[in-house]
Symmetry: C3
């Protein structure tokens, strides 16, 4: 099911409009390029609709949302819907403040998202329509493990039905749900949580892959989640062998994405399909 997701992206070199945070924006731009797509960052209300119009997908990330960028997110999202290009939401830190929760819920009301990716606490907050998260990290009680994944799968599936979006809940185990199918993905490495931006970067990768594969949103999302996890595994193996730390890990992770292809995804994916 994941055939050609990456090769399509490298062949088409699609454009991805990002309205994102200023913390991880450089990593997001670089990982989109590493996938073979081309990033455009633009967040002024006077140009976002026009920029979306020349792009193949839109990624909205609320990591450092503010009064100036929130209306821009809405305007770009509506334009993307009008043009029927994929829109991906990363509700960073939703639940940590009223502003984040209300903004994300408002965006979900006004914009049809193709994919929503967050950690378990963020998705739970959106699913329940409220909630309290502790900053940008998942709450311990919400973490998905082998023992509680059934509950998270149900939430993902229900949330998918409510929103129509493919739902990706990422953490130690990743869940992707959409169109009566759901997947568990066990790629990745704990060191990924020791650098900033692995979540944001994954969302950017999903944006790139969806831009090139707009009729295969579910597959593109699954491929993106697998690929990111594989990059984490590859990066960790390099760090271990050279006795380095988290900054080298980050470089190796981006390196791995720049060399990623469909074969690597197929060979190394740790994917369980549930129906």
């Amino acid at each position: 099911m994941l055939e050609n997701i990456f090769s399509n992206t490298r062949d088409k070199a699609p454009y991805v409009h990002n309205i994102t945070n200023y913390v991880t924006v450089n990593d997001c731009a670089n990982i989109i390029l590493a996938c073979g797509a081309s990033p455009i960052m633009a967040d002024d209300i006077a140009e976002v609709a026009e920029i979306t119009s020349i792009c193949n997908a839109l990624v909205i990330n609320i990591g450092t949302l503010n009064e100036r960028t929130i209306p821009a997110m809405l305007a770009a999202g509506k334009k993307a819907n009008e043009l029927k290009i994929p829109v991906i939401l990363d509700p960073v830190g939703v639940g940590a403040s009223k502003l984040r929760t209300e903004t994300a819920l408002h965006l979900m009301k006004e914009v049809n998202f193709s994919v929503i990716r967050g950690n378990a606490s963020e998705i739970k907050t959106l699913y329940l329509g409220n909630g309290i998260t502790k900053g940008v990290d998942v709450n311990d009680a919400d973490k998905i493990t082998e023992y509680n994944s059934a509950q998270a799968i149900t939430m993902a599936q229900e949330f998918h039905k409510h929103t129509g979006a493919v739902i990706a809940i990422t953490g130690e185990i990743d869940i992707v749900a959409g169109y009566d199918k759901f997947y568990l993905i066990r790629n990745g490495h704990p060191m990924m949580s020791r650098i900033t931006g692995t979540g944001c970067m994954l969302t950017a990768v999903i944006g790139a892959l969806c831009a090139a594969n707009p009729d295969r949103i579910l597959e593109a999302t699954v491929a993106g989640v697998c690929a990111m996890g594989i990059c984490g595994e590859l990066a960790y193996s390099k760090v271990t062998s050279q006795g380095q730390g988290t900054a080298s890990f980050r470089i190796y992770l981006l390196d791995a994405m720049s060399n990623m292809d469909d074969d690597m995804v197929m060979t190394r994916k740790n994917l369980e399909t549930l129906m």
Copy 2:
């Protein structure tokens, strides 16, 4: 005196709210994670007090201050004081413009800071209540050397008395003053001034260590200054041995912080205690 500063940070994994600049924000987030703490960047006035409320420390860095973020800095600072969590100020480039000087002085009037860290020109500007600095670097005339450190120590001690904050003046020689004690630290390497953000990163590290050790602000600050200098030394030794440049140095410096522990601080610190 520096026992367990790092192990407490790694054990507690505290949250650090940062209102900081967009130049070095990614490095600040990554070095906070490298210390074992968790960074949250949020700067909209509509959410900063709420974000501060779920955190264990607040770092205010005026590197790219603007009319939108200055009120947010004030609001977050006041909330942090109300909650009695540590607040750290990095007065980047103070003295280079009226906006910076007035903002920093206003912040100091309205918010009680636990730690203020800057270079000698920045601290001198705040100490005198005015002054002219040349951009974000220390003026040559203000540089602390073995020959003029006595004067800088006096300034640090006086400034501590006026503000109640632990004062860290960093440069070739670092001075930390607080509670009738002062320290000279001779760790570090000149290559640290050839990359952007070593000052900002140090302030972020101090924020992380203070978040986990709120009753040991002076010790946490000293440990942070020593640790950052040690990381610079370790990074330089790797660069030298491989014939690389400043970008590799930056990676190795962050790597070193991700592997830092109390033993390393105790063993390699070059710390002189003056009473």
Copy 3:
């Protein structure tokens, strides 16, 4: 003609004021430091003129322009003209939105630029006073190759006459035009387009070199273009030999700039002078 451009920069350590985008700002700051100059990023209208006043050059990059920063760009540009220090324009993505095109044209009307650097589509947009570019990348039809460079050279020369600015059009082949001279530069490597910010970084390098060599704007620009390309070549040779990817490439490129000197530029430049 390129003698001492780098040594002057390392000797004088000039200050470069940057009003730039939040995507590549960290890379811009680090590469300015790598050249031996000192970056200052400040974009609030309340301080930009004052910051420009303490600097030796100003770089304006419209990559993530917004309603708050556009007036700041104008104010800083006018102050730089008044002080007769070099002003460099990077019209990122001009043609991709009315906001970008109108802003860049307005800036060119109100500010005398010393250097304008962009890709072929961006320069064409400014030259024609309008145009459509596809995001931040060059349009395929505009790419400069061995077969169509004559046309691009004419455009560069004409645009120089209209504006008085040295014009640098960068891509597979780079063109620099100014003062009845023009140059073709064939340094560089295609991997440079697989990371974000090589264009922005080159503009920042030109800013640093012009800051130290204000009477040799044309030579400083040519030296910057050659040096950036050489860094790309050196970085690629390291990546190839170690089987790494684009993130390592970016580190090696910055490393190479931190070790760049006039000898290296003279020895490795692939420069054709046309009169």
